[in-house]
């Protein structure tokens, strides 16, 4: 179940990323036009060079409070997981059964788990795995998807048909199913998980980028470059991919959310990262075994971390989408 994997497939290759935020951008546009008109009437045209599309995009993004909250949460999670252990020292290597199931408070702000590990410290270490796998898998999937989609869209014709039918075939199999089959074949270590998730989630990115590439390849600057003797390689890497950057970035944020959700699901099924390493999903699925014992601190902290770390990229992605619309309007 994923946002990134189910794009509303409207037949609109011009602008596949456009779904929400239309009204926002209209609003700001109107305001800006009015300001410009007032300035013109007063005879004081805005000084300096006009604001870049990036600046305008950034302004729209910053106006979106949820997006800022998303950035805040994500940065906090990164600091918590990677800087936290440097400040808050806990023993996460040796099992200590004398210390199991201590309630939160005192030396253990969030208590201890079934093996006597400090839960707060464990959250930090486990979060490193969730975040590393999530971000790396999303980055890899994005690169793969962009190249695949840009090549298919740029060349069109038979190449496009063949490449997109392959994507359709892979898309028709649930990512979770594919991941489960692969994980039963190979021992799930961190690099393996990154690869598995990346290889199963680049498909939507490639579809979106293909849509962009189909319209970008007919633009004058691409045609001009070809007339000047530039190759297809240059067209794809230097012109098609960079111009689809808005769509790509929005999609990449959703990819991060989906990748983290996927490792959580795999961990619950016992097919995720193997002990002694653990991710948040592993902590949570261990914790819910004690759901009847009232050990809430084994469930809610990990659950909250997962919900926050998946929600944050979604907020960011939605803010980015609004910002990208501004760019699209200028085209």
């Amino acid at each position: 179940m994923s946002l990134a994997s189910v794009p509303p497939e409207l037949p609109d290759p011009e602008n596949p990323s456009a779904t929400t935020g239309l009204v926002t951008t209209y609003d700001t546009d109107v305001v800006e036009r009015e300001e410009a008109a007032e300035a013109a009437v007063a005879g004081t045209l805005p000084a300096g060079k006009p604001r870049s599309t990036f600046r305008r995009g950034l302004e729209v993004f910053v106006e979106n409070k949820l997006a800022l909250v998303g950035v805040g949460i994500f940065v906090f999670m990164l600091l918590f997981c990677f800087i936290g252990p440097l400040v808050y020292h806990t023993n996460q290597l040796q099992v200590n059964f004398g210390n199991e199931f201590i309630s939160p408070g005192g030396a253990h702000p969030l208590g201890t788990d079934a093996s006597g590990f400090d839960v707060l410290g464990r959250l930090m270490v486990a979060g490193q795995i969730s975040l590393e796998v999530g971000i790396a898998a999303a980055a890899l999937a994005t690169i793969l998807g962009v190249l695949w989609g840009a090549v298919a869209g740029y060349f069109g014709g038979v190449i496009d048909s063949v490449m997109m039918r392959i994507v359709d075939a892979l898309l028709s199999i649930p990512v979770l199913f594919l991941a489960i089959v692969v994980v039963t074949l190979v021992t799930p270590t961190k690099p393996v998980l990154i690869l598995v998730i990346a290889l199963t989630s680049w498909l939507t990115t490639s579809r979106l980028v293909r849509g962009e590439a189909l319209s970008l390849r007919t633009r004058d600057y691409v045609q001009a470059m070809k007339v000047m003797g530039g190759g297809s390689r240059r067209a794809v890497l230097r012109h098609i991919a960079p111009n689809a950057i808005g769509t790509i970035m929005v999609n990449a944020t959703f990819q991060v959310a989906d990748a983290i959700a996927l490792i959580v699901a795999l961990s619950y099924l016992g097919l995720g990262i193997r002990p002694p390493q653990q991710d948040w999903g592993g902590m949570l699925s261990d914790g819910i075994q004690y759901v009847n014992d009232g050990y809430w601190w084994l469930i809610f902290p990990a659950g909250l971390c997962i919900v926050l770390v998946i929600a944050a990229p979604i907020f960011i992605g939605e803010g980015l989408r609004d910002a990208v619309e501004v760019r699209l309007q200028r085209r």
Binding site: M1, V181, T184, A265
Partner: protein, 319 residues
Amino acid sequence: MTVFLLRRLFQSVIVILLVTVLTFALLRAIPGNPAIAILGPNSFRNPGAIRLFDQQYGFDLPWYSQYWLWLRHLLTGNLGFSWKLNQSVASLLGTHLPKTIFLVGISTILALLLAVPVGVIQAVRRNKFVDHFFNGFSTVFYAMPAFLLGILLILVFAIKIPIFPPEGPQGEGLGVLFTNFNALILPIISLTLITLALFSRYMRSSVLDNLTEDYVRTAKAKGASERRVLIRHVLRNSLIPIATLLGLSLPGIIAGALITESVFNYPGMGYLFYQAALNSDYPILLGITIVVAVATVVGSLLADVAYAVLDPRVRYVSQ
């Protein structure tokens, strides 16, 4: 229109063929020997028996002949034979698939019935409290792991306040679903909430897109009431992309069903798949994968056809 349909049908056939190639490649990538898996772990002492098995089932043939044989079996409904359960995959699916269809069907319909009004209200009251409330709601349920939701439902409605049983209906056949419907309620709520979180987002953006269309202004200019514009014009047009969404989100819903089924110990297809994964019972894994993939391809084909029928603006001829 006919050209479009034929073209789309041809594409679907190609995609299904590709799925079979992919699945077959996975089948061959799997370590271990089917002969040993079926004849038992001690059979490696008896190479004659293994050779006989390989000959009987065509495992001594080159890979393309094996693929052809496998494909012919698929066409006749032979999905393979479980390595561990001593049953054909087709008969296992016969008992498990209807249960999943029942669960997924009810939850999807409920989710859709709820998502439409929620999405419309959100779009109309954009950036108001109601919008933020449902936005938060759908984000939380989207971000919450499906198994956590299931466990929390069990904790609250089966243990703290014991209204519903903590497990899905057990036993053979579809009859238990009706005789023990109470047990089905928590799994349905769980899957509905997850699906609703996804659908209401799309419904919201679909309505928002349509609210800015010219025909809305025209209708208002002609004096149609807000209510009429919303229901007769915007809602009807906003529902069209939902047809596509339904077709495309089938794999996602089925993946959600896998988790929900294993939380509630509900003997559906997802549960079967998960148990097969734990037992390395590959014929089941691949049989189910094929069935789900074909269902998805057919689903998105139907969605596209529905799209073309529902939306006269869509011109597929030029493609």
